[in-house]
Subunit: 197 residues, 2 copies
Amino acid sequence: MPPLKTRIAATARRLFLDQGVDGVSMRKIAGQVGVSATAIYRHYRDKDDLLDEITEDGFSIFRDYLTRAVSSGRAAERVRGLARGYLDFALDHPRYYDFIFIIPRHNVRRFPDEMARRDDLSFHLLVEQVRQAMSEGAFVAGDPSETALTIWAHVHGLTSLHRAGRFGANNDTFRALYNRSVERLFTGIEVPGEVNP
Amino acid sequence: MPPLKTRIAATARRLFLDQGVDGVSMRKIAGQVGVSATAIYRHYRDKDDLLDEITEDGFSIFRDYLTRAVSSGRAAERVRGLARGYLDFALDHPRYYDFIFIIPRHNVRRFPDEMARRDDLSFHLLVEQVRQAMSEGAFVAGDPSETALTIWAHVHGLTSLHRAGRFGANNDTFRALYNRSVERLFTGIEVPGEVNP
DNA sequence: GTCTATAGGTGGATAGAC
DNA sequence: GTCTATCCACCTATAGAC
């Protein structure tokens, strides 16, 4: 039998994955572990302390998805890979996605300074691929973190609408829609105008 | 003194605007109106019935913003106007914005069929401007509702990130960022490639 | 470290008297 | 129509015994 703290954490995570963050309560955890609710407080200062672990799990999985997605090809292809990785994470781990990206949190990192820091691997990764794509001449020149923000906002907008049920329950249908929308972002929706004086 | 139902509705709305939807409870409303909590049930079937009114208020204000924003110029300009109107609504009425677009709701309209219906004025308005812009040759030809979705997802992504505190509290800074990002969506972020066989 | 007992709080909703 | 009295279902967290 693993230590109690481990069992508490595992039970909290299972409750979270089954029912979302609102389904996590000290009483439920205690009931399923088979101890009294107060016993948890010997191992965690309070509920936030417990949820922080879940948050870290989520970010860790998210980073894995992005890191894997960025492996190959030219910079522009790697950016497309990151967009796919973002979606894959959301479809494979919807509870974590909701918790990290939709449900309001305290202490969010702010654009651009706090997010461009080297230790925020996820956004930093995107910015660096965008910078690379710009220097290869594949992307329109500009501020890499602003263009990265545009991409991030776009994939976040699409994905959060999907999570809100706007596209029905079929993930494959949504994936195709998502990819087409990302391509439209890449190529633009407006026909380039005549050069007007 | 207005009828009790009117006072209940007004108090509920004020609580909602002050504290968000979580700040609305039957007890609080009753306390502020000066009646018992149970009295409310003579006028509203249950709490959802009350919140439906607030939802309707929000949509009504939202429609006003879009209708006003779409008035003038060529179709592409009107689409830009709609993007601005969306942002203006979110900045002027953040509680309604959160309630309508971020907090999960039941019975959302789905893309594309339910949303393209003539009576969903807001999305329909956008689709029609996009269709017009395409037929003027200003927008890249395609399915108008898909391009409209791309625009909607983009402005929603940016705005919901702002509402989550990702850009700090300064609305003017965000507005400038938002406009630049929308322009990048219009023109595309990728340099048009050589025509490859 | 874990327990019982308890404090102290939120909330929605109903029965039946007036 | 409105009240009081209640029921019910939750929740976080602490004190102090063992």
